[in-house]
């Protein structure tokens, strides 16, 4: 199903099927129509072998927190399902109960509790169970942190010091001050990777001498659907591959003006027999700003489209789970989802 490279004159059914067309004032041919009976003479029925043949996946960037990959040959419904699942349905651990013994800081209790809730926790959620509403906390479903900080004057501070961080000790309470207190056999189970906040330098509140916070924090497993603090990603998104089609040739000084309509690296100006000529080299970098469509001189000379089944997918993890593991977990969630439907369909049919 990977579409052939189009030339400009093709404004045929195949373009409408495989491309989103970007015009000056509108975007057309947006909906997927890759279905049987839609195009005469084309068999678009789903076939697993055909899918395996045409589906391509390629990782472009990979780091501890971010990844970008190309997914080619699937419908937007599947790509969108992955995006939605990554944002809302891959479980993580997050602070859910905050027991405040003492809080004399400037931040009021409920705001402090909310701020603690948003601190990402570095713990493998697959090693924990979901805690039901009526269930009591156990070492299998809860992580406990203690946050006990008191501020006092720094006896070694220089006279006339104005920076509170130097003048006082513990002027800022950081996420790194949250001390994990292992319950049951947690110390044994997690000795390879001790549980802690992902970042140690998130300011939770500020203190002045004599003020203190004394807090016990309980973390539970949850889903982003429930509250955004359980979302494992900062963002998961995709865009379609841009495509720039030139009708005939754009030569001379027009080629340079044409190049300037696009971000750097998208269009190159090459010399052919001493004549400058515009060539599209890397449409991936295009932002599809449509600047080129504003110029009368390029009217009917350029066409902007996007490849409907080429998704440039990007995952930016919050840090608790690495992005490549996130995608694999999203696949498992999706399989569970469809599996549930399959099983309940079978049991419903048997009952009848």
């Amino acid at each position: 199903m990977v579409p052939e490279k189009k030339n400009f004159s093709h404004n045929d059914l195949d373009t409408l099927r495989s491309r989103v067309i970007v015009e000056r004032d509108r975007v057309t041919s947006t909906a997927s129509t890759d279905f049987p009976h839609n195009y005469p003479g084309q068999d678009l029925a789903w076939d697993f072998e055909k899918f395996k043949e045409s589906f391509k996946l390629k990782i472009n960037k990979l780091s501890k927190t971010e990844m970008e990959f190309d997914m080619i040959g699937i419908d937007a419904a599947v790509a969108n399902a992955f995006r939605r699942i990554l944002i809302a349905e891959v479980p993580t651990m997050a602070v859910s109960n905050v027991f405040i013994m003492n809080n004399t800081s400037i931040v009021v209790d409920e705001v402090l509790a909310h701020r603690l809730g948003l601190v990402p926790i570095l713990a493998d959620p697959t090693k924990f169970d979901f805690k039901g509403k009526e269930e009591t906390p156990t070492d299998l479903n809860t992580i406990v942190f203690k946050l006990q900080v008191t501020c006092r004057r720094n006896p070694n501070a220089a006279e006339g010091e104005t920076d509170p961080l130097k003048k006082y000790i513990h002027a800022n309470v950081y996420s790194g001050d949250m001390k994990w207190s292992p319950q049951g056999d947690q110390a044994e189970r997690f000795k390879e990777c001790p549980i802690k906040p992902v970042f140690d330098d998130i300011v939770v509140t500020k203190l002045r001498p004599g003020q203190e916070v004394d807090i016990e924090i309980h973390c539970e497993k949850g889903l982003g659907q429930d509250h955004a603090k359980w979302s494992p990603v900062a963002t998961a998104s995709y865009r379609l591959m841009p495509e720039i089609l030139i009708n005939g040739e754009i030569t001379g000084e027009a080629a340079v003006r044409f190049q300037k309509c696009f971000p750097e690296g998208v269009v190159d100006v090459v010399k052919e027999n001493g004549v400058k000529k515009a060539v599209v080299v890397n449409p991936r970098k295009d932002t599809v700003s449509r600047e080129v469509l504003r110029h009368a001189e390029f009217e009917n000379k350029v066409k902007l489209t996007r490849v409907r089944d080429h998704f440039i997918f990007s995952i930016e993890s919050v840090g608790a789970i690495e992005p490549q593991d996130l995608f694999v977990q999203a696949v498992k969630v999706l399989m569970d989802k469809t599996g549930t439907v399959k099983r309940s369909l079978q049991s419903t049919l048997q009952a009848e």
Binding site: V2, P3, K5, S32, D34, F35, P36, L44, A45, W46, F48, F51, K52, F55, K56, L57, K58, I59, N60, K61, L62, S63, K64, E66, M67, E68, F69, M71, I72, I74, D75, A77, V78, N80, A81, R84, I85, E89, K133, L223, Q225, D226, E243, R284, V307, Q324, V328, V331, L334, M335, K337, T338, T340, V341, K342, L345, Q346, T348, L349, E352
Partner: protein
């Protein structure tokens, strides 16, 4: 507070069936499926997969109300099969699709890792210089 519990989105209450089938009384080979505690994520995928089946004449879904956490899926098929059967096929096909995606992803992850291990600066390596091996 009178906010609805957020877990109502995904926790199936006792005695509620995940999936119910209501055959259409007026149209032949047509049925309405009601699937509880699922949203657009699954519904749109099922609709798409059903439409790729040549034996499906119609497939569409809707979420009747944003505060009700279920969707209905209407399917009409050709006379030689029935809606429950094509839905079963669609689900099987989806599982296959996703399974093969996972394999390809893991294969490419190994490739990307071995490429990245040559330059490990913690910043993540830009592999985009390697052209995607396809024509478009």
């Amino acid at each position: 507070m009178n906010a609805p519990d957020r877990f109502e989105l995904f926790v199936l209450p006792d005695g509620v069936k995940k999936l119910t089938i209501t055959p259409d009384t007026k149209i032949p080979n047509a049925a309405t499926f009601k699937i509880e505690k699922e949203d657009h994520t699954l519904a749109n995928m099922l609709r798409m997969q059903l439409l790729e089946d040549p034996k499906v004449l119609f497939a569409g879904y809707k979420m009747p109300h944003p505060l009700d956490h279920y969707f209905i899926l209407k399917v009409q098929t050709t006379p030689d099969t029935n809606p429950a059967h094509v839905l079963g096929n669609a689900v099987t096909e989806l599982i296959q699709t996703v399974g093969s995606m996972k394999n390809k992803f893991e294969m490419d992850l190994i490739r990307a890792r071995s490429d990245a291990s040559k330059v490990d600066n913690g910043e993540g390596e830009d592999l985009s210089s390697h052209q995607v091996d396809m024509d478009f």
